[in-house]
Amino acid sequence: MVRVDGKGTGALVEIRSLDKKYRRGGEEIDVLRGLNLDVDQGEFIAFMGPSGSGKTTLLNLMGGLDVPTAGTIRVAGDEIGALSGRRLAAWRARHIGFIFQMYNLIPVLTAFQNVQLPLLLTGLSKSERGDHVEAALDLVGLADRRHHYPRQLSGGQEQRVAIARAIVADPTILLCDEPTGDLDRASGDEILDIISRLSREFKKTIFLVTHDPVAAERAGTLLHLDKGTLLECAADGRFACTPEDRAR
């Protein structure tokens, strides 16, 4: 279930009256304005909207990478704004998996070592870490490339390694920021297949930011952002908007 009226209860992700302002050259820019969102576990949400509409900012706020100007974000019962420093880092390690447009792999580490990075922050033994990494690489179809460095992989393969890294610690939420933006259609489709599978088979809660309508079609719910506001609700009636929401 996805709601944008701010009246949901007990959802995995609860966002209330979220504002984000940036100051640039003495000018204050409203990136997000009074955004409400409730998302249950297992939902696959796509955010679309023009550049500067606040999609990536929303993702960053949900992942605890940035701090809201006002409002609250609650994920799995934790209010992110109340966390700071070590606790926020630990929370991210436990709950969030990030997939970036530019993969952001560490070039001097092999695929195996890149995927293993999040597990180094856990108490798992070396053999346990190895098992988890093998499973994650197997899931993205790169078990045979575990000893390859990023420069030895294609863009699509690099992104698959990045997905393996994002899921290896079994996070609560996957945040994908234009994961196919730097790939050709075929490679992009492979990535979307994997992400869809994570939603369908593993019931992962996924937030996907994209400019690509084809990619957005994979999501169960499509939300449009413009000028920091969720524009409207989907036509299938799965979520309820207030008149004020519609009036925006």
Partner: protein, 379 residues
């Protein structure tokens, strides 16, 4: 330890830069090792000085002599238990480059004042009974392959001619700082053959009853010979040795100055290298933070890189310095106790680590304070 691999691969990422940074530590710590060794060698006399011994020399200068008759007068003064004397001979073996310290000593009284040098009674007796006999230290025996019974010629520099001596004893000591390459022979032999300064000695060493009496005893000695043609200056053996070492300048200040400049340069070089390394990896550091690495861990990773460079480079420099010092005194006797001690090795290594930490702290703090969203925007 989990992140050790990450530290290592990061250091190997820009091999030339890492090698040059390590090299700068190697050169700096090699230099430190040599300077520390020189300082120790010049000050080794200070370290071995007895607390209950005074040195009496001519008030004008160390190279001006004192009458041999002073010994009996000194012995009558309060707090004085024993007195002996020595005279610098300044000879060399075959060639000037083979120079080493050599003295003519007061054989009958020497052992009572310097008990730290050990001999078998048999060897000492052989030395005492042979007017042309001499005692050598183990390093000197090793340097020229001399053994007991050898007859060795010394070329005089202050006086003239070749002076032949018989090796009668090799002293032993368990104190490494006492084992400088040196030679002692009979004062009587010197006084008999030399053409001037007959009946004069270089300096006296006086054993007193209590180190606490040093000031009173020194004052008594100097008062006794005040207004005489050969006024004295008496000081503790430690002060005498320090003054002797400082004749060629303030070594400590010199070494500190050179060391400070080298370490400051090292800080700049390493700090710049680490800052570049962190700047190049801004995006990667942001990713590490994104996956949940906390700020102290990021700080530690960068610090570990800087300290690893310092440890490898500094360690290599100290090993090279140690190997260099193992070849012995490069000056042929001016730096008799040319030895890089474990204490100086440890001090050098600690300094290297401190320099690494100091060089890494600013880049590490920068990495720690990195805002993820800003850094990712730059990728």
């Amino acid at each position: 330890m989990k992140f050790l691999h990450l530290v290592i691969v990061n250091l190997r990422r820009k091999k030339t830069r890492t090698a040059l940074t390590i090299g700068s530590f190697t050169v700096a710590l090699f230099l430190f090792g040599i300077l520390a060794t020189i300082k120790s060698a010049l000050g080794s006399g200070v370290d071995v000085a007895g607390a209950d011994r005074l040195v009496v020399r001519n008030r004008v200068s160390l190279i001006q002599p004192l009458p041999i008759a002073y010994r009996d007068q000194i012995l009558r003064l309060p707090h004085v238990e024993e007195a002996t004397f020595a005279t610098w001979f300044g000879g060399y073996y075959q060639d000037m480059k083979n120079f080493f310290p050599n003295f003519a000593i007061d054989v009958p009284n020497w052992r009572r004042v310097y008990p730290e040098y050990k001999f078998s009674d048999e060897e000492w007796r052989a030395f005492a009974e042979d007017r042309e006999g001499c005692v050598i230290s183990p390093p000197l025996a090793k340097r020229f392959g001399w053994k007991i019974g050898d007859r060795i010629p010394l070329e005089a520099t202050i006086w003239t001619g070749t002076w032949e001596l018989n090796v009668r004893a090799i002293y032993e000591t368990d104190r490494r700082e006492l084992t400088s390459p040196e030679l002692w022979f009979h004062y009587e032999y010197l006084d008999e053959r030399r053409s001037f300064w007959k009946g004069f000695v270089g300096w006296y060493t006086v054993k007193i009853d209590d180190p606490a009496s040093a000031v009173a005893a020194a004052a008594a000695i100097d008062d006794r010979f005040a207004n005489s043609p050969y006024e004295t200056k008496t000081e503790t053996e430690k002060a005498f040795a320090a003054g002797f070492a400082n004749q060629i300048g303030n070594i400590r200040l010199l070494i500190l100055s050179i060391g400070s400049v080298v370490f400051f340069t090292l800080l700049l070089v390493t700090g710049n290298a680490m800052a570049s390394a962190v700047r190049e990896r801004t995006g990667e550091l942001a990713v590490l933070k994104t996956i949940g690495m906390n700020d102290p861990t990021v700080l530690s990773l960068v610090m570990a890189e800087a300290i690893a460079v310092a440890a490898v480079g500094g360690g290599a420099g100290l090993v090279l310095a140690k190997l260099f010092t193992l070849r012995g005194d490069p000056t042929g006797g001016m730096l008799a106790n040319f030895y890089l001690s474990p204490r100086n090795l440890a001090l050098g290594f600690a300094l290297a680590l401190a320099a690494g930490a100091a060089a890494g702290i600013l880049p590490a703090l920068g990495a720690m304070r990195l805002r993820i969203v800003d850094a990712l925007r730059r990728v």
